[in-house]
């Protein structure tokens, strides 16, 4: 009895020790970046973080990552912990543009420079925002679609379905405007636009409905490859998925450049996707940050050119939070789908 009790007490003590024994180590004094990821379960976000991490290592900087699990309040808490921990700069992708303004204001008060990636906050002072040029991506997708239609009919005409993201979001608006500005130049191309709220199943359902009503549909353009990931299997189910070059092939063009979509392009199921330079977002952000630490001012307008880089040329504009740089997107089709610089080709760890 007594021994049994001692044994239990022993386990109690052991578990107490175990509860904290999984903790790490302290670090020495170097420049330290706090990186607050919105979610590490999203492949695009993993790519953005990877780019920032690799660049920080190259500069010899320390790098602390947190994962908000798509929860704005968690991200605010984590940024507070990072600030309490002591960091020299905060780099993050806001879970929510409105809520995370609170964190930017807090960092501003402490004089810690803040860079956001992928989207900006609604308020606060940002050293820089780095994002993909979503208008350009839409424009490139439109131009690619026109090229395909021209090849099919000898002139730009036909019927195209546009699967939009969530209409309230800035990203969907820009990707829609870029595409439709191109289409407006060709009166013989008719565009049907339907919102999907970024949901693949909704994209699939709309595709099925439109194909029932318009079997002559020539092409589909989706605002995000996550929508396309639902459309391709839906076409397969309907027996409407023909490979590029086969009669009856419906042109498929999207934006993002996910691993899945690059796979479809290799299989000749999908024509093209406008790849975001996700691996470069963090690199560009940290390069500007280094310039800032060296006392250089961040430009507020004009073009940034780096020969050979996928993201170049990028243009900078001034917004309410500070300078914002739009990185160029890259049209990807069968000719360049194996380019190792594309984030969709990033090696799995």
């Amino acid at each position: 009895m007594r021994r049994g009790r001692l044994f239990l007490i022993g386990i109690l003590i052991l578990t107490t020790i175990l509860m904290v024994s999984s903790l790490g180590v302290c670090a020495k004094k170097t420049i330290r970046i706090g990186y607050a990821a919105p979610s590490l379960m999203d492949e695009g976000q993993v790519a953005i973080r990877e780019g920032a991490y690799v660049t920080a290592k190259k500069f010899g900087w320390a790098f602390t990552t947190t994962d908000a699990e798509r929860d704005a309040s968690k991200q605010i808490n984590q940024i507070e912990s990072l600030l309490a921990r002591g960091i020299d700069a905060l780099v993050f992708v806001p879970v929510d543009s409105a809520a995370l303004t609170v964190s930017v204001e807090k960092a501003n008060k402490l004089g810690i420079p803040v860079i956001t990636i992928d989207r900006k906050t609604t308020g606060g002072k940002l050293l820089l925002t780095v994002q993909s040029d979503n208008y350009l991506a839409g424009k490139q997708a439109g131009e690619y679609m026109v090229k395909l239609l021209k090849r099919k009919y000898g002139e730009p005409k036909g019927l195209v379905l546009e699967l939009q993201g969530a209409l309230g979001t800035n990203v969907a608006q820009l990707r829609g405007k870029g595409f439709n500005d191109v289409m407006a130049k060709y009166p013989n191309i008719k565009v049907i636009s339907k919102p999907t709220n970024w949901y693949p199943d909704k994209g699939a359902a709309i595709t099925e409905d439109i194909l029932t009503a318009h079997p002559e549909l020539d092409g589909i353009y989706w605002h995000s490859d996550c929508i396309g990931a639902g459309v391709v299997p839906a076409l397969e189910r309907l027996g409407k998925l023909k490979l590029i070059g086969e009669p009856g092939h419906i042109f498929l063009v999207g934006i993002d450049g996910t691993r899945v979509m690059l796979g479809y392009i290799r299989e000749k199921k999908v024509d093209a996707t406008m790849s975001q330079p996700l691996l470069d977002h963090g690199k560009v952000a940290l390069e500007f940050l280094r310039a800032h630490f060296q006392g250089e001012a961040i430009p507020t307008s004009g073009l940034v050119i780096e020969p050979g880089a996928l993201w170049s040329p990028a243009h900078i504009q001034m917004v309410n939070t500070g300078p914002l740089i739009n990185l160029a997107t890259t049209p990807v089709d069968l000719t360049n789908v194996d380019d190792p610089r594309l984030w969709g080709n990033m090696k799995k760890k």
Binding site: I9, L12, T15, V20, T66, N77, A84, D96, A98
Partner: protein
């Protein structure tokens, strides 16, 4: 004689802190030994918390700073408020899975009533006080709805509150139209974002609510009834306690506290999102259980659940301060919760 009096008043004092088991074993001779035993067993979570704080402080000098300790308290405050309600439900022998969605809907509703200049808002630009009252009433109403169907109709608490969890999240989506509503009046922002002296307002509110509900649970008839109903509903019914009423009240308290949590959260974020508070129900149950509230009902000390929340938040913050790779943090949290429940089970065996 005097000695006896002293020990009795000492017992009474201790009882105020919720040491139920002491009163039962109080008749035995070796009282001091009992007191020590009970402090070790009933309050072991505080010892664990102390141990964790000590270890984290020894690993990094940044842990034991005023800024960081205030951060941990602030990060704990919203979950802490929700945990009170969840604990009361667990004590009454039931479950409330709808608290996370209630948090989300409350924030969304508050924003919808107050925010101006955004198409998704109502445009009424209500003053914060009536808006808060409406939100609190809605919270109580949600609890009443859950409690009625669980206690009076006899529906399964897990499934009923699972259904309300889904329904209420959908309501939040309707209220916000899926967008973020932001920019509250400054007086509303003060609740979750302001400070009283050096202490964040939300922390003061959490502590006040803990004291109030601790008092209700330990010094009021309804509180004792919650323990009895949770421990043995048949016996409670035999004693003439209206089990239905007690369960409904427990759910109403839970709904009310979740609404308070939603107000604090939206105020702290200065915005409301459809998904705010999702997953909080599980954090709340975890913190309650770490704090020693029995999943079988009727057993546990409310004040210990603060320690449960603080343990979770200290470790979460500590892991960031120690630069533990983000990829590992989730695993570590799951592991820690597992260990806490293991300890709780072993503790019951020791008793």
């Amino acid at each position: 004689m005097e000695n006896k009096l002293n020990s009795e008043s000492f017992l009474e004092k201790i009882n105020l802190f919720g040491l139920k088991s002491l009163v039962i074993s109080g008749a035995k001779k070796d009282k001091l030994k009992n007191v020590v035993r009970i402090i070790v067993l009933d309050y072991s979570i505080w010892i664990i918390l102390f141990g964790i704080v000590m270890i984290l402080s020894s690993l990094t000098s940044r842990f034991l700073t005023t800024v960081n300790l205030m951060n941990i308290l602030l990060h704990s405050s919203i979950l802490g408020v929700v945990v009170i309600g969840e604990s009361i439900c667990l004590l009454s022998g039931k479950f409330d899975l709808s608290v996370g969605s209630t948090v989300g809907l409350s924030g969304a509703l508050a924003a919808w009533l107050m925010v101006t200049g955004q198409p998704a808002a109502s445009g009424w630009a209500l003053h914060p006080i009536p808006a808060i009252l409406i939100v609190l009433l809605v919270g109580i109403g949600i609890g009443l709805f859950n409690g009625f169907f669980i206690a009076k109709v006899g529906m399964n608490p897990l499934l009923t509150t699972l259904a309300s969890m889904i329904f209420l999240r959908g309501m939040a989506l309707i209220v916000t139209s899926g967008e973020s509503l932001y920019n509250f009046p400054p007086s509303y922002q003060f609740l979750g974002g302001g400070t009283i002296g050096p202490v964040p307002t939300a922390v003061v509110i959490m502590l006040a609510l803990y004291i109030i509900f601790h008092f209700i649970l330990n010094c009021k008839k309804i509180g004792r009834h919650i323990y009895i109903v949770g421990g043995n509903p048949e016996a409670a019914r035999a004693c003439g306690i209206s089990v239905e009423k007690v369960v409904m009240l427990a759910f109403m308290m839970s709904g009310f506290l979740a609404a308070v949590g939603g107000i604090l959260l939206s105020s702290r974020l200065n915005s409301a999102q459809t998904i705010s508070g999702s997953g909080m129900e599980l954090d709340a149950i975890a913190a309650s259980v770490i704090g020693g509230i029995s999943l079988q009902g009727g057993r546990g000390i409310l004040l210990n659940t603060i320690a449960g929340v603080l343990v979770i938040e200290s470790i979460r913050t500590g892991l960031v301060l120690l630069d533990v790779p983000a990829f590992w943090i989730r695993c570590t949290m799951g592991f820690v919760i597992f260990l806490a429940i293991l300890m709780d089970t072993l503790k019951v065996k020791l008793k």
